[in-house]
Symmetry: C2
Subunit: 146 residues, 2 copies
DNA sequence: GTATATGCAAAGGTTTTGCACAGCC
DNA sequence: GGCTGTGCAAAACCTTTGCATATAC
């Protein structure tokens, strides 16, 4: 998978007249290095590991900024809201409420679901924005056995 | 719609050996009076309105208790986790990320979606636990026009 | 009487905000 | 040099927890 390099994001920010500070560079680099979910607190820890002194408020402000320009998006999982790279949004999260296992639905598979919802209500769902809870196959079997 | 009266819930709690304090009565009564989502902070405000001095921790403890005994369940919406009466769980929340409008999918309609997901992954989704985000018909039209 | 529930106060954690200073362009 | 971004400190929230007291049964 070809990840858009950090420099692309930096270029994008530049075009918007935003300034590239060392802190932003570090935060952006860390984000582009991360696959999947990015929680503000985790990100803060990681970034502060390599560049001590970066303030938590800077992390939060930068995350909000990156969402505004479309680099990041947020989704709601069981543990709360998390960010992810916008171009990585292409899957639906299935989270097992019993064992916590995570599985994904590809957008191809989700297509039929989306069409079904659109047909009934004219609502255009974004199935990536919230996870879908439930029981994974294992836990479903286990609990049914009782 | 026949709401199970407050007395039923009180009876249920009694059967479990739990005690019915005035605070619990007030909280349960308020919950049974509420349709839809119940946020802890709102509930605290309301209950304290009619019975000043009820502590927030009592609200939280009671909500957790009521979830344990199956009277309440929680769901994840855009604003975070909220409670709702368990017997009101029978619908899927569609929330528009543009205008905030809320629509519902009946469980009949959701049945097809559930079967589709089960078929692909053996995962048994509970579509009531997370909302489904996206654009409502109006906002979809509006934004497409641009 | 005894176990349970409540109030209180404090702590915990995350996120936001105001303001002065630093530093990018 | 001017304007943006950052750090700092404080505050704002929401939620949890420990402990002594009150109270339902």
């Amino acid at each position: 998978m070809a990840l858009p390099p950090t420099t692309d994001v930096i270029e994008l920010l530049r075009q918007r007249g935003l300034r590239m500070t060392p802190q932003r560079r570090a935060i952006v680099a860390e984000i582009m290095r991360t696959q999947g979910h990015i929680s503000p607190t985790e990100l803060a820890r990681t970034v502060q590991g390599e560049m001590p002194g970066v303030n938590a408020s800077t992390i939060y402000r930068t995350l909000a900024l990156l969402e505004e320009v479309g680099v990041l998006a947020h989704a709601h999982l069981e543990g709360g809201a998390e960010y992810h790279r916008a171009e990585e949004a292409g899957h639906v999260h299935l989270t097992c409420s019993n064992c916590g296992a995570e599985d994904d639905l590809s957008m191809d598979e989700a297509g039929a679901l989306i069409r079904l919802i659109e047909r009934h209500h004219g609502f255009h769902p974004d199935l990536t924005h919230f996870a879908i809870g439930g029981l994974c196959a294992d836990c479903g079997r286990e609990l049914a056995a009782k």
